[in-house]
Symmetry: D2
Subunit: 384 residues, 4 copies
């Protein structure tokens, strides 16, 4: 298999820029595969597309260039400044493949979707790509309400034909992607493909999709510590979480409406893992000073034998873009492989990567890992 395209929604954001720099760096042998799950033997066994043939394009509403963003990120310690310098030419070339993003309210959603669909088809054709994976790494949107026009594909098409605008921004991209025969990765908690009408469309068009909300840091830790308490029959009494982050994501999440998506998916998993609700606040705070770095602190209060009260706390100091970028490459390869194998619809076996895994209520990381490896094993044999 060769020729996979990545089409970013939010192509000059922190995650997309870091992914682009990383892909170029790996191809130029300037960097290794640390952080890439798809390079572990159990996952590589699926017969994944090579990184060498990957082409990156995307939509972006913000000004600026990939090169400029790369400089900013490297100044913030996301990757070595030398990379931004050495790869400047390649980044400029990638920048040429970025198209203006959809701006809400400019024209109808029907016409915007048509435009996006056409651009996706053009990207695939121009670069002779076997398939394209659309990856949403744009700013988090509020949860989608319960809108009638999103309930079935027929209702959605009728609303769009009538000039209505029922789709959240991220869902408009998913709609266009599916119509263009592209698979999709909902990397953020935004609604994207997770509305009934689009689930229907993906099946109709025979494209797989994965989501939502990549688990990169504090939530990742929760999904191994939570099962530990459960397996040892220790009773978690409260679990308090604080996430301090600067950068674009932090700024977006400073708006409580947008944060609602994030907080909902973060809180999700713990209750499911422990089997009971757990007390304790969950804060996400914007601290501009922290830049692209996140510090999370969690305090777990638990009860052991004979009611003895104990506690555990941890501090996670991570760079979100750096943790996210390799997962983007992993997901693109896995979803493209599923597409190649003819799979369609949501991919619960990729729950390993997500805070809010579509089609699954499993949150324990090791159980998710087992499901991922089992699928990769089947995929590897299916390719022979």
């Amino acid at each position: 298999m060769s020729g996979v395209g990545i089409w970013f929604v939010g192509a000059r954001g922190s995650v997309a820029t870091t992914t682009t720099v990383g892909l170029l760096a790996i191809r130029s042998r300037l960097a290794g595969h640390t952080g890439m799950v798809s390079e572990l033997p159990e996952v590589a066994a699926a017969g994944l597309p090579a990184l060498d043939g990957v082409v990156i394009g995307g939509h972006e509403v913000a000004e600026g260039t990939l090169g400029k963003r790369a400089e900013e990120l490297s100044a913030g310690g996301v990757f070595p400044p030398a990379l931004a310098t050495v790869l400047a030419g390649d980044l400029a070339a990638a920048d040429e493949r970025i198209r203006p993003g959809v701006v809400a309210g400019q024209g109808t959603q029907r016409s915007a979707a048509d435009r996006v669909e056409a651009e996706l088809r053009a990207f695939r054709d121009e670069h002779g790509l076997d398939r394209v994976v659309v990856v949403d790494v744009s700013s988090t949107e509020p949860p989608a309400g319960d809108v009638a026009a999103l309930a079935t594909l027929a209702q959605l098409e009728a609303a769009l034909d009538a000039g209505e605008a029922p789709l959240p921004g991220s869902s408009l991209y998913a709609y266009a992607a599916f119509r263009a025969g592209c698979s999709y990765v909902a990397f953020t908690p935004s609604p994207g493909p997770r509305v009934p009408a689009l689930a229907e469309l993906a099946l109709e068009r025979g494209v797989p999709w994965a989501g939502s909300d990549a688990k990169t840091g504090e939530t990742l830790v929760k999904t191994v510590l939570g099962p530990m308490f459960a397996m040892r029959a220790l009773k978690v009494r409260s679990w308090s979480s604080v996430n301090l982050l600067g950068g674009g994501d932090g700024q977006t999440l400073a708006d409580p409406d947008n944060a609602a998506s994030k907080i909902a998916t973060k809180a999700n998993g713990l209750e499911s893992i422990l089997g009971h609700p757990v007390d304790g606040p969950l804060h996400i705070d914007y601290v501009p000073d922290l830049g692209d770095w996140k510090t999370a602190w969690d305090l777990v209060s638990f009860e052991g034998f004979l009611g003895t009260r104990m506690s555990m706390q941890f501090t996670w100091s991570g760079c979100d873009s750096s943790l996210a970028a390799p997962l983007v490459l992993d997901l693109v390869r896995l979803v493209a492989r599923a597409h190649e194998l003819g799979e369609a619809g949501p991919m619960p076996q990729l729950g390993f990567f997500f805070k809010d895994p579509v089609g699954s209520d499993v949150h324990a990381l090791s159980t998710q890992w087992d499901a991922l490896v089992a699928w990769c094993d089947r995929a590897g044999r299916g390719a022979e």
Copy 2:
């Protein structure tokens, strides 16, 4: 199945006392099963012996009474003071079943072993027990050297017959246990049954045994966090660990010779989980002020995509005796069940409970859990 006996080596130590208080409290409906893995449905499925029929006895070299020790432990917050008061009568009765422990150098090892064996047989007969599990919770001993007399059972018997004393203290108990047809749990890192001659003896006498060194706190956490880094292809660069503890265990471990056993088994797992050696100190410090509580701090420095350096730290504040006691009850039930099913020799499927699992190099907690559950499932069907 009914009538299981627990015979403690170190019967008035913190762990044995807490286990005894806990068993009595559960039987009197004064406490629940928090912390007991054997009460989780996946493990209970093995068809484990009921707690109601369990009788506790043991050896002890130290002065004092169970009741006095229970008061001290409850004053230190290990369990509610009310329990020690209410259970005073039962504890006094249990104290009656404690025999003087073996003191090195008083008589030959042959005669000491004969005495212990006779006491174990007497305990089983007197209380009409189906089987007895010997559990070593006494102070940690140094690692056993490479002694010729421990290489085969024949050599060991010859040495004992010759009036020699080749056995570490814990191994002498294991020798006597196996000869008495008792199974054995090596709850500490002391050598116990882990010398070739005794492995031979256990098979000859058809008794199962489990070990070594229960993982109760900081190491437990390592065996879920380590796999998390591995599954995410993040490169752990250093992992520094500090354990501060008061209490008897801390005091014993203040002697570097004794600590050697502990440190070796603690360091063990991480390298195996990550697949490469990891830099960083591992300290165990005696801080009398901390009493029966332990505070451990770990700093993990790791590298992600494009070489970005990140870190995680955690602090574990736990009560070791409280964490250990329910595992003693779990192990006794599981080993007794294996004995009932006719299994003999080391039980690698109980690696879930140990820092240095016999017969296994698996340290990842969730993989150990899967192995435990699989065995319990088989055991449950085997009983039908």
Copy 3:
């Protein structure tokens, strides 16, 4: 000097109960003076009233008894359960001196204030006390608005005469206290005496008062770490604070209106110490599971030479009532001593004890200590 009375507003709350138990325990030689600043030689030098002559009374709106509260607090680890048992008789006697608190809306504020004043006078007379210090340890109230009737004493009296209710609850007690010739300690962030009309009244009646909002934990630490950064010319870029607490105080502060007072006084000091505003959230969360204990976590991000970014974090695990109670005794002794010396009005030299020191913008703990010691030295000489 002898015969000082403490009159608690909130006499069966956690702080008042712990103070009462502590005073009785010290007098019965069941406890020492740990945590009492007034027993340090530099402070004792002021010639403070002896604890032996102190009598405790107070107002309380809640049901229950001191004995019952003491049992609950000791079960939560605030002090040894044995104290509650041994002191049961003394606590019952103290309970007899507690009067029903003022309930908003029942009668006019004028009549309520008259009743409180009369009760204070009766308490002083009945026990032959030289002076009485009223200490507000009741639940935190919202900040007082900018109310015309509180601007001058004349306006206040007129409003009360007119049957109006301009006084916040805590201020009503301060009004009655001053009229009864009692000094006052604003131990919480509630408005209490900190309205212009009451400041006027205190001077008129010749009584001293101190406040507000005792600094017992996380803020205390801030007022030594903040100056450290300042003295070393290190630039604090952000300071994020999370306070998790159960207990009554936590519950009250779960109401954002009430928390407003607390958060304002907590945030206060840091900016003053560092000389510039500092970014970062300040959370106070109610986590019932934590009971009377508080865990606070702070992350300080700072910049050093050549712009290098560094960080420091700390976790404070304290028992608020236990930290507060000895300060109550300290403040009572110091305010009573000032009263004896004829001082009147706000006491800025007691800023050492408070998050929001009246009449002072000094927050650095060591500078406050110097001011306290200087006053004590003068007071000691003044007494000769």
Copy 4:
């Protein structure tokens, strides 16, 4: 006042290199004064020498160049890589002023001291400097034993004349410095001028000196938290400290003999501040992975009112060279100013900067600050 020279012992080490880069950066207006205590108004009031006239030279035993070291340090995050690039020419010029350090055993100590003295005089003359401050930032040496030849200056001179080698390496430099009329800063815990014979020599030659062992991180924090507990009458029961560091300092301290100096001076202060010995380990571990950064973790267990046990922990993540370099500039300016004012001998008023302040047993940072500011105030008036 103008023309001050800094002569480093260890001129291409991390601290000396960072100081040199910093001085050049400040003079080129590429960096500000963050971290420089001598720029705070209270300290600047002393009338300190301007940075513009400072010339740097030194001794060094290691190979390499300042430029190369600056690149390495900037790659490790100690300062921005751009600084090393922009200042390459200035660093090369500074490198020309570095002379080969004294190697133990090559020639007599007498001849080595003569050579160093001559080089110091040549440096001062060549650059027309008013005075030169020798600053020892070389690797930590073991404590000096109780050697007869170091007891008096006469004995020392006799021993040197006799071809003996009684001086620790750092003390040889101090000897030469004093003979050359240079003042001296003992920035490390090495013995340096802290032997009786050299104290005598400094007075004889009329030169001031300061030391020992700059407090830059974890110990700095201890000297504000310790007094906090003391001022609040809270009883510290144990204080456990772990310091993890890579870099050259870490490597040197991995040798227990060298660490002895460091651990002694670190442990020093706390006992003096609290007034009683405090239990708990103090570890310094070499973790190469951490490079020039240090992570320290401290756990403080303390007791409050009625014996209630509480705890505090902190983690300090700092860059040692970055914290040390501005203090070098501060000390040079302060010692040069004292020299200008005719002061001679040890300077206890600079205890603010040191873990083991010469001539003082004050360790509380705020008390040290007060002493520093008082001296600066006098120095400022003395200059008029």
